[in-house]
């Protein structure tokens, strides 16, 4: 039997690992006997790490050393997360390349390294369960993850010693889990509302083929945000009752956070629950307690605006799929946050039907990843996943316009080619700026990378043809290449390496651009000068021809000599000598002031 490939759902709050045994997927329990493992990493002062259940239990006692929700940071830039900084109890710093680093006990770790810890734990669970080495995996990501987030997830796998054979989208994975063995033909919507992200995907099931028609979502909307709302609510009430801010006490923050999550979960089954936080704060009068009951209705009112944000992506996904809500015959609910009754109600209203409860919302994604692993090993020959790219991909044109080469919701793997040209004469370098997003203005989309195509032979502008090729592989990961069609010069990048390779380069680019602009100006100036001397030479030529008889012998010889000098200077492109010769000619001819003046006037007029 071939080496096992596991499927891993690397979640914001929890992770799950599964494997296909024969044709049956199986979820693998961890060492503690649970099928889900908290995506929490505790960093000890000695540099060691603890992952999962044990780490989560330490969150309360050691909030600044316990890392949670790292998925919210993976593949992002430090400048992008400024507004969310206070949500993370641990310390985050940005390095010179705008990459995020988690700093604990003076050790800086990248989000990829932290995610790798979680993946390592899942790998260990699988190895213990299977009693075999595991070195290959299919890992899931939110469908609406951009290219950098996918690349970083893949790299996290590598750090964990796992070859990530395929990145698949979470809602698509859930559809696989639903469809396996059903052989049905229908339109399915997957509503995936997890701990940190929200995705909606519309699929066509055609026997064993799973074709994604469209996908949409919000990578920063999840159960975490609901917890946050409840946290703020409790914090404000404590503030009103005691005039004390719990934000000054990391342990209190952690206690309220945990209570918020607990209250959220309880209100999914209970109509009301009690919040009891004894000794939550203390002032000179002694310890203070917080106690109240919260009804489901109050909770739903609190979250109404947040839930409303779920509707717009649903609308867009349906219209991109060119379907009406009632044409969707099955709606799958995936992700822990779909346990909230108000969310189920919202889905029921939007699609006009009861959502299906045939998949386990916590396990379906990992099960789907295990099924895809089975496709790659060849044990599930018939099943085939045809996914789409969630965001448009393109480049920046002159004037800052974004030109999409591959529009969103294109079936992948795919490729697109487009020809572009230069904007300046003798432009030897073309700067290719690769972006992802839906905005018309390039700078409002996300930069995935940039590179320079150099070595374009000097030609007037608009002559060279630069062919830019985008290709997306089955993982949804992009590679870009550019080629000068006439000279054959070419360059390609795998977008992932961009931050490493481009570092320090932008200055050189600007310098090069400035140098080129100066070159262009000089070229123009010299051409104008040269044209002037050419006309001047013609004028002297006709002057001599016309007034030969009236000119002094010696003057005539001098004129002819200088004319030859000017002619040679022009062919040699020696503008300094040309200027001298032109001056000489003018001086000699000025001796015949009236004749010359009239001729010159007649010639130039």
């Amino acid at each position: 039997m071939s080496a096992p490939i596991v499927g891993i759902d690397l979640g914001t709050t929890n992770s799950v690992v599964a494997i296909l045994r024969g044709e049956k997927p199986e979820v693998i329990p961890n060492a503690e006997g649970n099928k889900t493992t908290p995506s929490v990493v505790l960093c000890e002062p000695n540099g060691q790490t603890i992952v999962g259940e044990l780490a989560k239990r330490q969150m309360l006692a050691r909030p600044t050393e316990t890392i949670r929700s790292i998925k919210r940071l993976i593949g992002r830039r430090f400048s992008e997360i400024q507004s969310q900084l206070e949500r993370f109890p641990y310390s985050l710093v940005g390095n010179s390349q705008d990459q995020i680093r988690v700093k604990i006990h003076d050790v800086e770790r990248s989000p990829e390294e932290i995610s790798a810890e979680v993946l390592q734990k899942m790998r260990a669970s699988a190895e213990a369960f299977l009693d075999e080495d595991v070195s290959q995996a299919v890992v899931t990501v939110p469908a609406y993850f951009n290219d950098s987030q996918r690349q970083s997830t893949k790299r996290a796998g590598e750090i964990a010693g796992l070859e990530v054979l395929r990145i698949i989208n979470e809602p698509t994975a859930a559809a696989l889990a639903y469809g396996l063995g059903k052989e049905r033909t229908e339109h399915v919507a997957v509503f995936d509302f997890g701990g940190g992200t929200f995705d909606i995907s519309i699929l066509d099931l055609d026997q064993d083929i799973y074709e994604v028609r469209s996908t949409c979502g919000d990578t920063a909307l999840g159960g975490d945000d609901i917890d946050r709302l409840l946290f703020e609510f409790i914090r404000n009430e404590i503030g009103e009752q005691t005039a004390l801010d719990i934000n000054n006490d990391p342990t209190a923050v952690q206690r309220v956070m945990e209570m918020a999550e607990k209250v959220k979960c309880e209100l999914s089954t209970l109509e009301s629950t009690t919040i009891n936080l004894p000794f939550i704060v203390a002032d000179e009068t002694g310890p203070r307690h917080y106690h109240r009951t919260l009804a489901r209705g109050e909770f739903e009112k609190m979250c109404a605006l947040l839930f409303e944000r779920l509707l717009d992506p649903c609308q867009r996904a349906l219209s991109d799929a060119r379907l009406r809500p009632d044409e969707v015959s099955t709606v799958l609910l995936v992700g822990g946050s779909t346990r909230i009754p108000a969310v189920r109600e919202l889905v029921r209203k939007f699609f006009g039907r009861e959502p299906s409860s045939s998949v386990n919302p916590d396990e379906a994604v990992a099960v789907g990843a295990a099924i895809q692993a089975g496709v790659l090993t060849g044990s599930l020959r018939e099943v085939l996943l045809l996914d789409v790219t969630p965001l448009s991909l393109g480049i920046e044109l002159q004037g800052g316009v974004f030109a999409a080469l591959i529009p969103r919701n294109s079936s992948i793997p795919t490729a697109a080619k487009k020809r572009f040209t230069t904007v300046r004469d003798n432009q030897s370098t073309v700067w290719v700026h690769v972006l992802q997003g839906e905005r018309k203005q390039a700078r409002q989309n996300r930069t995935l990378g940039h590179f320079c195509l150099t070595g374009i032979p000097p030609t007037p502008r608009e002559i060279p043809e630069i062919e830019v090729t985008f290709s997306i592989d089955a993982n949804g990961i992009l590679s870009v290449s550019a080629m000068d069609v006439t000279s054959g010069a070419s360059k390609s990048i795998n977008i992932e390496s961009y931050l490493q390779t481009i570092a320090g380069d932008p200055d050189a680019l600007i310098e090069e651009a400035e140098r080129k602009a100066e070159e262009d100006r000089r070229f123009l100036r010299e051409t104008r000068q040269k044209m002037r001397y050419i006309r001047s030479l013609e004028m002297f030529n006709s002057f001599v021809n016309r007034y030969q008889g009236k000119l002094d012998e010696s003057d005539l010889a001098e004129i002819k000599k200088s004319m030859i000098r000017l002619d040679i200077a022009l062919t040699e492109n020696n503008l300094a000598t040309a200027e001298e010769a032109d001056k000489e000619l003018n001086e000699i001819c000025n001796r015949y002031s009236e004749l010359f003046y009239r001729h010159k006037l007649g010639y130039t007029a």
């Binding site: 066509d204 055609d206 083929i209 074709e211 060119r322 496709v375 790659l376 060849g378 085939l384 996943l385 045809l386 529009p407 294109s410 079936s411 992948i412 793997p413 795919t414 490729a415 697109a416 004469d425 030609t459 007037p460 502008r461 608009e462 002559i463 290709s471 592989d473 089955a474 006439t486 123009l524 051409t527 104008r528 044209m531």
Partner: protein, 247 residues
């Protein structure tokens, strides 16, 4: 010859949406990269299937398919016409030699290179303001490669800017460019510009209105039409222009 999207998906031109989807699924079952076993095979399938997906991404979308159909039809008509014209070009040309027509007997590829050099030189002169000599070089470029729309446009503009008359020659050069490359609206803008230069407002308006048939939101053309006080033409466009004027 390159295969069109229908040929890539192995469906007929009048295939229904369902047929197209079925064809895509059938090809996916055979040629999706996941069906490969060796790295080379997977790489090969990846390339092949990327092409299939590209075709599918256009044909699965009603609007994109309609747009593609129009383009395909134009290309075929053009190719048919060119096929008919090749004979006279091959026949020995009578007279009409100029200094730069050196490429006459040269093989096709060399002639294209000569044309490119002539055009480059012409463009240099054009940019330096020497329109008279630029005209000569553009003519030489066209002699060696008649099917390059850009050469004709530049010739037209050079003739016009050299201010030595030749209005008709400029117009026919640009019309030829439009014929060769009907999708590039810039050629139509150039035509309008020429009509405007000689004060032929009505023809300029017509040129800009024609342009709008190809690119209904072209800002430059609309701007010129508004400037020329045109509101006539097709009712649809006049509505757009009217709306812009009101703003």
């Amino acid at each position: 010859m390159e295969r069109n999207y229908y040929q890539i998906l192995e469906v007929s031109r009048d295939a229904s949406e369902k047929d197209i989807k079925r064809a895509y699924h059938r090809l996916a079952r055979e040629r999706h990269p996941d069906k490969g076993t060796t790295p080379q095979q997977i790489k090969h399938l990846q390339e092949e299937f990327a092409l299939i997906s590209t075709a599918y991404n256009v044909l699965k979308d009603k609007d994109k398919r309609a747009e593609y159909d129009t383009r395909l039809q134009k290309e075929e008509t053009k190719r048919a016409q060119e096929g008919g014209e090749t004979a006279p070009i091959r026949a020995p040309a009578a007279g009409g030699t100029t200094a730069v027509a050196a490429g006459k007997g040269a093989p096709a590829r060399e002639r294209i290179a000569i044309a490119q050099r002539a055009f480059a030189k012409g463009t240099q002169l054009f940019n330096a303001g020497d329109y008279v000599r630029a005209t000569e070089f553009f003519e030489a470029a066209i002699k060696n490669n008649e099917t390059e729309a850009l050469y004709h446009v530049k010739l037209g503009l050079a003739v016009m800017r050299s201010r030595q008359g030749g209005f008709n020659r400029a117009v026919s050069a640009i019309q030829r460019a439009i014929e060769l490359d009907p999708y590039n609206v810039d050629h139509r803008l150039a035509l309008g510009e020429i009509y405007e230069t000689v004060g032929s407002t009505s023809l300029a308006i017509k040129a800009y209105q024609d342009l709008l048939k190809w690119d209904a939101t072209n800002a430059k053309a609309i701007e010129r039409l508004v400037a020329l006080g045109a509101g006539t033409g097709q009712s649809f466009f006049s509505k757009i222009i009217g709306r812009l004027k009101r703003r």
